[in-house]
Subunit: 474 residues, 2 copies
């Protein structure tokens, strides 16, 4: 037991029992004593350190009181399993007071390496990585490294301008150059902290995007769920909530997350009318605008907005890759200024070199080319996946093929919760409706993301899905 | 009164009093009616719109109930001041309500392109950019792009391990693998929001780092300044503040920011004693540990800490480049877990590919080599800059040559504020003491950063400094 030999009673003016207790805590912190390790008997410790046994007993009871050690069944005293509850840096026995709500960690329900139908993951194997690396290095060289100096919290001007042009030409959104953020998540977080006061009521789609909810709650917002039907959010329900006084509405009109329906024009106009009537802001999350396969592309709410009510959030996570962490925010100038100031406090700035490289690849056509290629690929994959799914499981599964998006929203006539648990045990992961419900209630749906899977992977996924179907297990 | 002429009673199936109230609110939102504006008498409104006066009175009482209007002393009814009431995004004529304090933007006091002595800027012209770009592309290729998928909010495991080893071997800091953050700024922001409650008292060095203060204030902390003398923070003063009950101390013991003095061992131990005596956390910012030129490197407070009191923040912004946005946080496991959860909400994760590339360049010796080279370069530049400064301006300027750091803290016998204004007009920027004081008071010092300037740039800088000296202008 290395610990015994290593334990030394530190000098000090504090009583021996306290110094001994501290020494044990120090060993635990150094990792030399781990949860479950047995401590030697108090007699041996007393002999070893030349202390009176009562001193050791008192130290042990102090440690037990602080929760560092526990008397186990066998009678041996062991280092305790340290609880999950965060503790203050300084006093390990008390809870950390949080200025904002820290939600429980949400690990994916399946081990890493699992084949998953987790929605929204783009295909990363066709990324123009050589061009990205070259553009990155070029940007650094041209500036003799100066592009890696402290930079503009609003983002690299060239990328902002490239995004502004893209929004104007492809989405009919005429606005000041957007702010570049670390993915859509940071845009949502900054907006929440710039616009919400603790206690503000914020409406979100009852089927929706939990990471956005977490960001809003971290700013003290109280979330109210707006029901979603087969056309998207139900505006009559929104008005009922609006009468209670809303600070904002968060919505995904283009491909409703996670149900993928596109909000019809009439409801779009109604949402804008309600916003101006009841004076709430709209946070429009257009996370995968680019991947609309059928019908005219639908312009965002922000393109219809004349009063600056809409803050528009987009991302390159789907077009290119989540790991590049590039999103953006288009909004009224005062909102952009406020968000930029917050951003300076939160993490100061983005990766200027990466931003500059992306701007170059947008301007020279590399990104648009990649985008067109991916759109064709995803359209094909959607069709193939849907027909394979229908062929194999059409008897229990049904869905409406959405006009776009990287996943299907599938209704099941057999228990989806049980199905997903069994599938996970067979190495296939998918997310059921309850994960996307503000009220966490179970619903007979699951999300099937197909974009990141090639034909072979789809075959494997469907195999496992068939093997795992609850009614096949009987 | 434009309002009278502009007011129209909108059609609708709602009762007239409600439509009238809505119309008034709309006018306020459009900014045509402003807080303090008097409304015309109810009789005139009734006549003007052809309504019964009771209808107008009911609308007014509805508006008063909602807090839109108030009956003022004179008997006149006026639009209320609406400080607390949330306003819609994007009515650009108005301010936006903030859930947290947004400090005024602080543009550097000089135009871009100005030659500056702004402290702490590293030399970026020697960066191993080819190796960086190659390592980045290699990481993406090896993983067939998967490294650019959604990743671990705690940072790339290989970089975390490389940093853990570096801290253990070079800084005597035995801890769990640190969390990778977006520069030190994000580590400070996340710590503040994980540890502080609104109203918590946090001690900071009276000469210090304003971006850290902004992060702490954004979490609602009340900042108290600990005086700093020629040995660093004054522990007697810290104890006086500690008696009032401190949540935390933020300090820079290695190279005090901005005065550059190294805190002596006795004070280090005293700081730790006070922390455990009064139960406050220590946030140690070791932003340029690597650049200590003379004497034994001093181990951080965190290396002496056995109780988990210290949260230790470091960065690669000086070793490599700020634009890479890589910092790290070493702390007690529960603090790391809490911060990681917040981080997922704030911006989800870092640049996994960049993090992996940096890990590779640390492991293969590229970064250590660059570091040794830069340390030699900065040591030389410090000596040359100091002697040149003494030669040209020794009659009015004096300083103690610090054992390390990328800038000097210079005392001036002539007015530094006037000096810096004149210098700025000549194209030379430097920051005076007031910029670093918690109390913003003017002091006869300025910060002179030399690290990013080659011999030629130093010559130019000193030229302008001499031309701008106030006593030379008479």
């Amino acid at each position: 037991m290395p610990w015994e030999t290593s334990l030394v009673l530190p000098d000090g003016d504090q009583p021996a029992w306290l110094r001994l207790a501290d020494a044990v805590v120090a060993e635990v912190r150094r990792g030399r004593l781990r949860p479950g390790d047995a401590l030697p008997g108090t007699r041996r410790v007393a002999e070893q350190l030349g202390l009176h046994r009562n001193t050791v007993l008192r130290a042990w009871s102090e440690l037990a009181g602080q929760g560092w050690i526990t008397a186990s069944q066998g009678g041996a005293t062991r280092i305790a399993e340290l609880p999950e509850r965060p503790r203050p840096v300084g006093t390990p026995a008390r809870g950390v007071p949080f200025a904002l709500e820290v939600p429980p960690d949400e690990p994916p329900p399946w081990p890493t390496g699992t084949l998953t139908l987790a929605g929204g993951r783009p295909e990363l194997r066709h990324l123009p990585t050589a061009e990205l690396a070259r553009a990155w290095r070029g940007a650094v060289r041209r500036t003799r490294g100066q592009i890696l100096a402290y930079g503009d919290p609003e983002g690299h001007p060239r990328l902002r301008e490239a995004l502004r042009r893209m929004l104007a030409t492809e989405r009919g959104l005429v606005a000041e150059a957007p702010l570049v953020t670390r993915g859509a998540q940071q845009a949502l977080y900054l907006l929440a902290h710039a616009l919400f006061r603790p206690g503000d009521k914020v409406a979100v789609e009852a089927y929706g995007y939990p990471p956005a909810w977490a960001a809003f709650r971290s700013a003290g917002a109280e979330l109210l769920g707006v029901e979603v039907d087969d056309q998207g959010l139900v505006t009559e329900h929104l008005e009922i909530l609006a009468r209670q006084g809303l600070r904002a509405l968060y919505c995904t009109p283009h491909h409703q997350y996670p149900t993928m329906v596109t909000l019809p024009a009439a409801r779009r106009l109604e949402v804008l009318r309600l916003a101006s009537r009841y004076g709430f802001a709209i946070i429009e999350d257009d996370y995968d605008n680019e991947f609309h396969f059928r019908g005219r592309p639908v312009h965002p709410l922000a393109s219809l907005d004349r009063s600056g009510t809409v803050a528009y959030v987009g991302t390159l996570s789907k077009v290119l890759a989540p790991g590049l962490r590039v999103g953006f925010l288009a909004a009224a100038p005062p909102v952009l200024r406020a968000v930029a100031r917050l951003r300076r406090i939160v993490d100061r700035q983005g990766d200027t070199a990466t931003e500059s490289a992306l701007a170059e690849l947008i301007d020279d056509g590399t990104v648009p080319r990649h985008l067109r290629r991916m759109r064709r690929l995803y359209a094909t994959r959607q069709a193939r996946f849907a027909s394979a799914l229908h062929e194999r499981l059409g008897d229990v599964l049904s869905w409406t093929l959405p006009a776009g998006g990287l996943s299907l929203w599938v209704e099941s006539r057999v228990d989806v919760e049980q199905w997903s648990r069994t599938a996970a045990s067979l190495g296939l992961g998918f997310e059921t409706a309850s994960r996307f419900r503000l009220d966490h209630e179970a619903r007979p749906y699951f999300r099937a993301g197909f974009a990141a899977l090639d034909d072979e992977e789809v075959r494997t996924a469907l195999e496992r899905l068939c093997t795992a179907r609850p009614d096949a297990l009987r």
